[in-house]
């Protein structure tokens, strides 16, 4: 009873998470996917740096930080767009999206300058 419970509990937890996630609206899922893509790209860059060394350190930093920056901005967008979030009830999602686009453009300008 006790030995298999942790394994079963893990499995049950995982299934419940999956079904709960399936209930999220599509636009939030798109944003989640975007965040995952950004993080994954950052990870690949870190692995590359680990292999070849950090010689143009500024390039490495700009690449990794652009990924993390855009991921953070996407998370902010998700918070603001999520209808279940009572805090941002009065904020129209288009406004949040416009902020997201503007912040991304500024982030990428800085990133491009730092890229070298």
């Amino acid at each position: 009873m006790g030995r298999t419970s942790s394994k079963e509990d893990a499995g049950a937890l995982f299934h419940s998470l999956r079904s709960a996630y399936a209930a999220t609206p599509v636009n939030l899922k798109i944003i989640d996917l975007y965040v995952g893509f950004a993080i994954f790209t950052a990870l690949i860059q870190v692995v590359y740096m680990a292999i070849v060394g950090s010689f143009p350190f500024n390039s490495f930093l700009s690449g990794v930080l652009s990924c993390f920056g855009t991921a953070v901005l996407a998370v902010c967008l998700r918070i603001q767009v999520n209808k279940e979030n009572k805090e941002f009830k009065d904020l129209p999602p288009e406004r949040a999206f416009a902020d997201f686009v503007l912040c991304n453009l500024v982030l990428h300008l800085v990133i491009m300058n730092f890229l070298g």
């Binding site: 599509v26 790209t41 690949i44 070849v52 288009e94 491009m112």
Partner: protein, 692 residues
């Protein structure tokens, strides 16, 4: 009695040697050639009449032929000055002075004009120089023209006016307003007064002349002297511009004195050796390099050559160095200052005193033989009794005719420094290495110090080295040279010098290496040896290499002094410097290109994964506006974002920040406008849906 007298005389002689011995030479050929060099006219003419006169007078004294172009241009400027009515008395004075030598013809009317203007100048004169130029001019024109009736109107009055400028100490002032007095002015005044006396139509009051003679004596009381017996006049330096310098001041005084002596009867009471001192002053200058100084010197010497006071005679030697090996004889010449022959006289060598030990004279008093042909007084066989060294010879000159004593002046005794040189014999020279304790000789070499030697010795620090030789003069006496050094030089160019001491004829030096170890900085190795023996009286001074000694010294302890660094050639810093190899930062190792490209591909992978995920989520474009205006805005919005991203790509590739920001400004404004339109449209659409 006789011996004590002789001793007293010797003592007197010794005391009189307190005055320094010096050699004066009369004017020589080098003076003559220097005169030709200094007084070179510029295209045949000189800058002013004063310079023309100086040049002509100098050439006249030396007997140099008058060049026709010089004379012609001189005559031109003289006649110009003389003919012009605006010439001052100073210009006329110098023109007439130059004419006295150049001997150009002056027109009758011109000379009449000169005489009248000069007479007017005399009456109108107020300062000493005015009197000098006008009176001097009148004297000159009287000599040059055929007229006899040139006289000063009121000679005594003019005399008194000039005399009014005199001071009680024998000097003169330039004018009544200027309180400064000088000896230079005294010389000018004397010349002027002499001119007045010669121009006077009747005898002047003798009391005036005698007071003037007193003034001259007082002036000569203020004479200054140098240690070697030369006398000169000098003024106080008050104003740099007016100050003339001892040469011109003394020359001026001498000119005035001789001019005055020429026109007065009777003697001027002056101590006669003062004239001799003045002659020595002018001769002691040598050959001046400046034309003005040269003129002053030569003019003064010409005054001394023939004057009514006393004519100085100079005793000179052609060479002050006598060589024993060449068996030189002592040759003495007595001449006037300009080198002309002296009256008959005898020269006696009274004594010769060694400069080292001023004992009794080394030679007896003897007369020199006069050689008629060469005009020299010669003494042979002198050197038989004299050894090498430096001496002071004392000469006495006696005039043969007693009347000449009043005319010529000769010093009581003339002291001349003489050097006698000869070959010094070096004998019995040997070098040896000795054992320190026992003093026994380990190795010994005979040396020949007249040639280079190649002795090679070796010693360690417990031994000694001895070098010895004997020096003998040609007369067989001991000789102590000024320099007797032994130099040891190490391979590293460190040198040590030792003085070789002597006792009598034997010179010996012993180097005890035990005591010298520290002095030698504990440097073992090969030391070159060099001996220097030198003296001015030695004709065969030597600097000879002896050979080398191999020294074995113990190791230097920790605190031993280091040998001094050898001097670096100061010009070596201008030679090529050491090469500097620049070490650039090694470029970082870059990864192989394939790996980088592989990872580039790997980075694209998440993007693909993103698109695939989007498709799986069922992304659609249903919310895209269909109406034309919102549709265009929507399209423009996407195009704007794409354009900004493209701009960023260009920014990375080639643009700089300012250009990017400029374009971004425009694009940003456009994007904000378009985005606002479409997003507000979408928001309105969704709000309508919600309310509906």
């Amino acid at each position: 009695m006789a011996r004590s007298l002789a001793g007293f005389l010797v003592l007197l002689l010794v005391v009189s040697i307190c005055e320094a011995a010096s050699l004066f030479q009369p004017v020589s050929d080098s003076h003559r050639s220097a005169a030709l060099e200094l007084f070179t006219p510029d295209h045949g003419s000189f800058k002013s009449l004063e310079e023309t006169y100086e040049a002509l007078r100098t050439f006249q004294i030396f007997g140099i032929e008058k060049k026709p172009d010089v004379t012609a241009s001189a005559c031109r400027s003289i006649s110009e000055t003389v003919g012009s009515s605006t010439s001052t008395s100073k210009d006329l004075f110098y023109a007439l002075k130059a004419n006295s030598i150049a001997e150009c013809k002056i027109h009758e009317t011109a000379s009449k004009g000169i005489i009248s203007s000069l007479n007017a100048a005399v009456s109108a004169a107020s300062s000493l120089l005015d009197f000098y130029y006008s009176v001097g001019g009148l004297v000159l024109i009287k000599d040059q023209s055929s007229k006899d009736d040139i006289h000063l109107a009121d000679a005594e009055g003019v005399f008194r006016s000039v005399k009014a400028f005199s001071q009680s100490d024998g000097r003169w002032r330039y004018s009544s307003s200027n309180p400064e007095s000088s000896a230079f002015a005294a010389g000018i005044a004397l010349e002027t007064l002499a001119g007045i006396v010669s121009l006077a139509s009747s005898e002047l009051d003798q009391s005036l002349i005698s007071t003037l003679k007193n003034d001259i004596s007082k002036l000569f009381d203020s004479i200054e002297k140098y240690d070697d017996g030369t006398l000169y006049f000098d003024d106080k330096l008050v104003d740099g511009y007016e100050y003339q310098g001892p040469l011109s001041i003394t020359s001026s005084v001498l000119r005035g004195l001789t001019a005055f002596a020429a026109v007065t009867t009777g003697n001027i009471d002056l101590p006669r050796d003062k004239i001799l001192g003045l002659a020595k002053f002018f001769l002691g200058i040598g050959v001046p390099g400046d034309a003005k100084d040269f003129f002053y010197q030569i003019d003064a010497l010409a005054c001394l050559e023939s004057n009514r006071v006393s004519i100085p005679l100079i005793l000179s030697l052609s060479s002050a160095v006598l060589s024993l090996t060449k068996k030189d004889s002592l040759k003495v010449r007595v001449t006037t200052v300009l080198g002309s022959n002296a009256p008959p006289l005898t020269v006696k060598l009274v004594g010769a005193f060694s400069s080292v030990s001023k004992d009794a004279s080394l030679v007896e008093s003897q007369e020199l033989k006069f050689d008629q042909g060469s005009g020299l007084h010669i003494l042979n066989d002198l050197l038989k009794s004299i050894d090498v060294g430096s001496y002071t010879f004392v000469f006495e000159v006696v005039l043969q005719e007693p009347e000449d004593e009043k005319v010529y002046v000769m010093g009581s005794q003339t002291k001349v420094p003489i050097f006698v040189t000869g070959l010094v014999k070096i004998e019995n020279s040997e070098i040896a290495v000795l054992d320190s304790d026992l003093g026994s000789v380990e190795s010994q070499n005979k040396l020949d110090l007249t040639a280079k030697n190649d002795v090679s010795l070796s010693a360690n620090h417990l031994q000694k080295m001895r070098l010895s030789f004997q020096l003998t003069t040609p007369r067989g006496r001991a000789f102590r040279p000024h320099q007797a050094f032994l130099k040891l030089r190490h391979e590293s160019k460190v040198e040590h010098i030792f003085v070789v001491g002597n006792s009598g004829k034997q010179f010996e030096i012993v180097l005890n290496f035990l005591g010298l170890v520290e002095k030698f900085f504990y440097l073992s190795g090969k030391y070159d040896m060099e001996l220097t023996v030198g003296d001015a009286a030695m004709e065969n001074s030597l600097l000879v290499a002896i050979g080398y000694i191999e020294l074995d010294l113990p190791e230097a302890p920790e605190k031993a002094p280091r040998p001094p660094p050898q001097p670096v050639d100061p010009y070596s810093r201008y030679g090529p410097q050491a090469e500097i190899t620049h070490i650039f930062r090694a470029p970082e190792k870059r990864p192989p290109q394939e790996l980088s490209l592989a990872f580039l591909g790997l980075t694209i992978l998440p993007l693909l994964g993103f698109f695939i995920g989007l498709l799986r989520l069922g992304v659609n474009m249903k919310n895209f506006p269909t109406k034309p205006i919102p549709a265009t805005f929507a399209v423009l919005f996407h195009v704007g974002i794409g354009a900004v991203l493209l701009l960023y790509v260009f920014f990375w590739l080639k643009l700089d920040l300012f250009q990017t920001l400029k374009v971004l400004g425009f694009l940003g404004v456009f994007l904000v406008f378009v985005g606002h339109r479409i997003l507000s449209h979408l928001a309105a659409a969704s709000a309508k849906l919600k309310s509906a």
